[in-house]
Amino acid sequence: MPDRPSDAAITQQFEPRIVAFFCNWCTYLAADLAGTSRMKYPPNTRVVRVMCSGRVDPQFVLDAFAHGADGVLIGGCHPGDCHYQEGNYKALRRFELLKRLLADLGIEKERIRLEWISAAEGDKVRAVINDMVKKVRALGPLKLERDAKDVWLAEVAV
């Protein structure tokens, strides 16, 4: 099998750190369902539970990047299905603005992702995480300009 990487290459392979903000009603449940269904996906994500994707303050995303995340995933209910009627639309609005800001900071667009995943879509959790880990791994570790990180940390320290 010529395509198979050597064992050494596997152990040295870059493992991205991905922080995931999942809403309590849809995506967190979907991740639970992926678990009860024993689906397998790479162990690179760390889930932070919020009640609604609308709770995801853009500062959370910046804070994650500043502290070493290589990618951030936000999961919410499908449009029209938000447990709080329209929090996911607010999340989408902020996400669009945030993407522009992150692009200005030189953070590649593959590192930030917003996905609508309903409580029944355990398989989508698996597929999205697989795909994101693959893409972020290909990008390599996030390299923030040193002063950009310091400026950010000074900003949130207030």
Partner: protein, 669 residues
């Protein structure tokens, strides 16, 4: 028991960390000992332990004892999903005398051990999550759940057997029930059946007494020909709007004498009768079926001459006489009610066999669906119970094709559960009524249930033929003179090992069960979820089969998945019991995750106000500050994330708590 105690920890937060093995569910993949040792090394941690089953009584006692002996004031439990056992451990904290919200759960089962294979990486992930929780929990503030009273009335949506049974159970317990049904009569699919398996008692004989009890029950308000159009509020306090479609007949005045039907200017019915699936015709003024409840006629404005031209002789009004029940000017009306709990029993629809053209439904006259045959053999049906072909002849041979729209990758993958049994029932009834040869084409016979396998045995003895194989096609092409004028069923007999052609006079398609066409709209209105196939999603497939993720909303019957009558009734009873249990607590406890404004920091920019879908935020012109009405706040946190000055905080999800969690999961080397 493996443990690490460090009583010298001196900080405001004295944290206890508990790592659950969950048998081997967690411990099989995560090195729990190493996670526990790691936890013990974290700042603020007084004690870290691992235990076989944290949720067991001894597991809970362990936490309680440590709280007392080690003077713990923060607890981290790394186990299963918080949605499962967060309430359990919060109770432990309460019992031990500390605030229930000084707890943080870490999900190392569903989100870790069950989804990863690499033990090293899974253990590392568990450590990161535990570190984040320890950092976060130190910031937790004491919170109290809010208590609000529960309105004792219940809304039941859907008047099939499940809805009827749930409504009667609740009403018998003295609760006010509103039963809403979209059709002009209650009864649902069960009212269309002839006999029920495996006992062969007549569906109408067992159903209609329940239907009439619904109509006459002092605690049930029955609204037929009505639909729920809006749901607002929250558990214990829902406000629901119900639209009543005009019957053009005044409910209170119509006595169900049906003289108007006889008097209608149409001498014969011209419109396909919905209840008989178009196998007979009805007039513009009609009663859906003889035992309809309520016994009130309906006028169909699409076919009534008065509505079309305004020039009808209105013989119906003449016949109604001084009862004056007919009102052509009736308008749609809306009622608004308050209920504390709601039960959805919206049922199913049958698979449309036109989606599988190889079976010729709609092309060959004598290919019927099983539901059509139920009507044909029903004594109150279009033929008075005679099973006849379209030309009036009695069939001499009948083929029943199982799994039409079930267990099929091209249509629906699920087993519809009831088709094997109802096909057996139809096979028995067809033989009994006509003496015809009956051929059942099945993939697998699925007859689990009390008395079901015995019924199958009985059919084998009755001389019904069973051919194992999915039917490839039903055609009218005669390959042999004996096939002339017949429908030929072609199937591979997988037991005999060759392809068979069986000519029959009538084909019955055992159509599967599907979610209602508008199941998605309904679940959105009631704020519940659907599984990927479109069935309503239960809170837990085994332990909470009639609850949903929305408190106070329950599901019963086939809207949750294919189900036979006994299962539907059992679920309806369970849903009613859940609703009663909730009502009898009199108060519901709401999570305290509400948001509040830090007044001194609010700049009065008002950007939070349009973000709130519940109008919970108001602005004071005097103080130039916003304020949040805690009763209306549902705790989504959208305004918190949107506040430009960071002057809104959400209980349990404060910015600092989430920052600690983010930084905690990332703090690994």
């Amino acid at each position: 028991m493996p443990e690490t105690i460090n009583p010298s920890v001196d900080s405001h937060a004295r944290v206890g960390v508990y790592i659950c093995h969950c048998g081997t569910n967690i411990a099989g993949t995560v090195d729990v000992k190493s996670v526990s040792e790691f936890a013990a090394s974290l700042p603020g941690v007084v004690v870290a332990r691992e235990y076989k089953y944290m949720c067991s009584d001894p597991g809970q006692a362990l936490v309680q004892q440590d709280i007392h002996e080690q003077k713990l004031n923060r607890i981290v439990v790394a186990a299963c999903s918080p949605l499962l056992h967060e309430p359990t451990f919060r109770r432990v904290l309460s019992r031990a005398g500390i605030n229930a919200f000084f707890l943080q759960m870490v999900n190392i089962r569903e989100h870790d051990s069950w989804v990863h294979l690499d033990k090293g990486a899974a253990t590392q992930k568990a450590k990161d999550l535990v570190r984040a929780a320890v950092r976060r929990v130190s910031l937790h503030k004491p919170l109290q759940k809010r208590q609000v009273p529960i309105h004792p009335s219940v809304l039941v949506v859907g008047g099939g057997i499940a809805g009827i049974h749930a409504a009667l159970t609740l009403a018998d317990a003295g609760k006010q029930v509103y039963l809403v049904e979209r059709q002009p009569t209650i009864g649902g699919h069960m009212a269309m059946f002839d006999k029920t398996f495996p006992t062969l008692d007549c569906a109408a004989c067992i159903l209609t007494p329940k239907m009439t009890s619904v109509a006459s029950h002092p605690h049930i308000r029955l609204w037929t020909y009505s639909e729920v159009v809006q749901v607002e509020g929250y558990v214990g306090n829902y406000k629901v709007k119900i639209k009543h479609k005009p019957r053009y007949v005044i409910d209170d005045l119509c006595i169900g004498c049906q003289e108007c039907i006889a008097a209608c200017v149409y001498k014969e019915g011209k419109t396909p009768d919905e209840f008989n699936l178009g196998l007979s015709k009805r007039k513009p003024v009609y009663l859906p079926f003889p035992q309809a409840v309520p016994q009130k006629v309906v006028i169909d404005p699409d076919t009534c001459i008065e509505f079309k031209s305004g020039k009808c002789k209105k013989t119906c009004i003449e016949a109604c006489g001084d009862r004056h029940a007919i009102d052509f000017k009736q308008q749609e009306s809306v009622d608004e009610i308050e209920v504390g709990t709601m039960i959805l029993a919206t049922g199913f629809k049958t698979f449309d066999p036109k989606r599988n053209p190889s079976y010729g439904y709609g092309r060959h006259a004598n290919v019927y669906t099983s539901l059509e045959v139920e009507r044909l053999i029903n004594a109150a049906g279009p033929t008075g119970g005679e099973l006849v072909l379209r030309d009036g002849q009695t069939p001499k041979s009948v083929g029943i094709i199982h799994c039409v729209g079930s267990r099929d990758r091209n249509t629906n993958r699920w087993c519809s559960k009831v088709c094997c049994m109802y096909s057996l029932k139809l096979a028995h009834l067809v033989r009994e009524r006509t003496g015809a040869e009956v051929f059942n084409f099945y993939i697998d016979m699925r007859t689990p249930g009390k008395g079901y396998e015995e019924f199958y045995d009985r059919l084998l003895d009755e001389g019904v033929h069973f051919i194992r194989g999915r039917v490839a096609e039903v055609s009218d092409f005669a390959a042999h003179p004996s096939e002339e004028g017949k429908l030929v069923i072609r199937a591979e007999d997988t037991l005999a090992g060759f392809v068979r052609r069986i000519p029959v006079d009538m084909v019955i398609l055992a159509v599967g069960l599907e979610p209602q066409a508008d199941a998605q709209d309904v679940r959105r209105m009631f704020n519940i979820s659907c599984a990927s196939e479109g069935w309503f999603l239960e809170r837990h497939p085994k332990l909470a089969p009639v609850s949903t993720f929305t408190e106070g909303v329950y599901i019963a019957g086939a809207c949750q998945g294919p189900k036979d009558i006994p299962d539907s009734v059992a679920q309806a009873g369970a849903a009613a019991a859940e609703a009663l249990a909730l009502i009898d607590t009199q108060f519901v406890e709401l999570e305290p995750y509400t948001a509040s404004i830090l007044e001194e920091e609010c700049s009065g920019c008002k950007s939070c106000i349009p973000l709130c879908p519940y109008h919970a935020i108001s602005f004071s012109d005097e103080s130039k500050k916003a304020s949040i009405n805690e009763v209306l706040c549902k705790g989504c946190g959208t305004c918190v994330a949107g506040c430009p000055s960071g002057s809104i905080k959400q209980n349990f999800f404060e910015d600092e708590e989430i920052f600690e969690e983010i930084e905690g999961v990332l703090a690994y080397a």
